[in-house]
């Protein structure tokens, strides 16, 4: 159902310059093909040596938070000097249901991710390496691990842990809890997992795409990495794109690419292909932000540009909502999913999210009560900043931006009308909501 769009296969070192894609080959690459293209992982043979290159590259985390990678590496390495033992985790629990990029990356280039995991392990002096996934590991991953073991390539054995398919299971503290044998639930921080994580050891949790970029930075250097992207936000990123006229696809793009290039201009699409145009863009997935059209039409995919609209690139989920759908119905569906995905640990989230979801369902119907929009705004304020994790804040960002962007539709619905002509759901959700609140392991 998800397809990958590649302009060309990644090239070798010489051909690689600024060219994209850097991470995704056209077909899964086994160890033989990986070594032919890249050679073995370039260990530095000195803990910490890689961190300066990562800092110079400007690499940020590709799991959604865009935190500078070198700072996390340095924090874990430093804490490790005090405590004697550190742990590294490749986080592939792509819990956002609309994101497909990490899963595809692990299918196509598992060895790049595993190289990155070994190199970060060396950089922070780790004694333990984990791969954390929200599904049973696919054949490409298992094959890559077996082939690497047979060749004796890896300095650390990698153990695989399966996470529950829950939205919050990839959150850093939840990852550490699950690896420790507990439920995949967030905890109240500090201490951060980089100070005290798995079994008390400073723990580096890094998204799998981040590790793949790092494996290339270790080979080709910071200047090569900075040949794509913007000066403030260098490099490329994987995106999962939903357009009215196409199936969902994963695409590696330079940071700073115009959103119009990725999501299309609604009018153009409908003229050229007779297909539906777009009425609004969603950037950053279900913790992301709805952008109004046409105001946002000139925006680019980098946080400096997105910030002007209160948005962030997140984990690269981009959607152009077709103009024949009801934005309110889509927002209500997704929000009831998010409410069901609350860990239920913090009072404001536990109480607020279901009320917010119910109010949105009311708006998506016809003839809502006069106070419903005011209730929504008040509850949004009450949950924001009051959780142990960022789930309430992300949900509120999604909801508040929807209230602005779909305001005309709210007025139509108040009068018993709806502009949609197509009732088929557009934004993807997992089949069926979670069956039990305890389903976290």
């Amino acid at each position: 159902m998800t397809t990958v769009v590649n302009q060309s296969a990644p090239g070798g070192a010489a051909r690689q310059a600024a060219g994209l894609p850097r991470l995704l080959p056209a077909a899964p690459e086994d160890l033989h093909a990986h070594l032919a293209r890249y050679g073995p992982a370039p260990y530095r043979n000195q803990p910490g040596a890689l961190i300066a290159d990562v800092e110079a590259s400007g690499l940020t985390g590709r799991g959604g938070a865009a935190f500078p990678v070198h700072r996390k590496l340095a924090a874990v390495a430093r804490a490790g000097l005090r405590q004697g033992r550190t742990v590294v985790v490749a986080n592939g629990a792509e819990s956002e249901p609309a994101s497909r990029k990490d899963e595809l990356l692990l299918q196509l280039a598992p060895n790049l991710v595993l190289d990155g995991l070994q190199l970060t392990a060396e950089a922070v002096g780790a004694a333990e390496a984990h791969l954390y996934l929200h599904y049973a590991p696919g054949p490409q991953i298992l094959r890559a691990l077996a082939e690497r073991a047979a060749r004796g390539l890896d300095r650390l054995a990698v153990s695989i842990t399966q996470a529950p398919p829950r939205f919050l299971a990839g959150q850093e503290a939840a990852v550490v809890n699950r690896l420790g044998g507990g439920p995949a639930l967030p905890t109240f921080q500090p201490p951060r997992v980089s100070e005290r994580g798995l079994g008390g050891a400073p723990t580096l949790v890094q998204n799998v795409e981040t590790l793949a970029h790092l494996a290339l930075i270790a080979r080709y250097g910071p200047r090569w990495f900075r040949a794509a992207g913007t000066a403030a936000e260098p490099g490329s990123m994987l995106t999962t794109i939903y357009r009215p006229d196409a199936k969902a696809h994963v695409r590696e793009v330079a940071i700073g690419t115009p959103l119009r290039t990725l999501l299309g201009d609604g009018a153009e699409v409908s003229r050229a292909q007779g297909a539906q145009g777009a009425q609004a863009w969603l950037v950053g997935g279900y913790h992301g932000t709805w952008l109004p059209m046409p105001d946002a039409a000139g925006i680019t995919l980098d946080n400096a540009s997105l910030r002007r609209f209160g948005a962030a690139a997140g984990a690269g989920v981009l959607a152009a909502l077709p103009s024949d759908r009801c934005g309110l119905t889509e927002v209500a569906r997704v929000t009831s999913y998010l409410a069901a995905e609350s860990a239920g640990q913090c009072g404001p989230c536990l109480n607020g999210l279901p009320r917010i979801a119910a109010a949105l369902a009311e708006l998506a119907g016809s003839g809502h009560r006069r106070r419903t929009v005011a209730d929504l705004k008040r509850w949004s304020g009450l949950v924001e900043g009051r959780g142990a994790c960022n789930h309430p804040d992300g949900t509120v960002r999604f909801v508040r931006s929807a209230l602005v962007v779909f305001e005309p539709e709210i007025r139509r619905h108040a009068g018993g009308r709806c502009a949609a002509t197509n009732r088929r759901p557009f934004l993807p959700l997992p089949d069926g909501l979670p069956t039990s609140e305890e389903d976290w392991t």
Partner: protein
């Protein structure tokens, strides 16, 4: 030295004792959970703040010197 009140939202179950003992800095939301003034605790309220911390049945209220945000990425 300035200290701030912080609630551990996982431990808090909304007893509301803090809002009774320290209404100047703590109010309750419509579900009974505390909304805590994020600023430094004024010296005049220092004793009341300590009393509220000690009285929390869930041990969820803390005085902290850390200015680090509570959240992970």
């Amino acid at each position: 030295m300035t200290e701030r009140l912080r609630v551990n939202p996982i431990q808090c179950v909304g007893h509301g004792v803090c809002a009774e003992l320290l209404p100047e800095l703590v109010t309750l939301d419509e579900w009974g959970y505390p909304i805590v003034d994020p600023g430094p605790v004024p010296p005049a309220l220092d004793r009341d703040a300590r009393r509220a911390v000690a009285a929390c049945p869930a041990l969820a209220l803390k005085l902290t010197r850390s200015e680090e945000p509570a959240r992970s990425g």
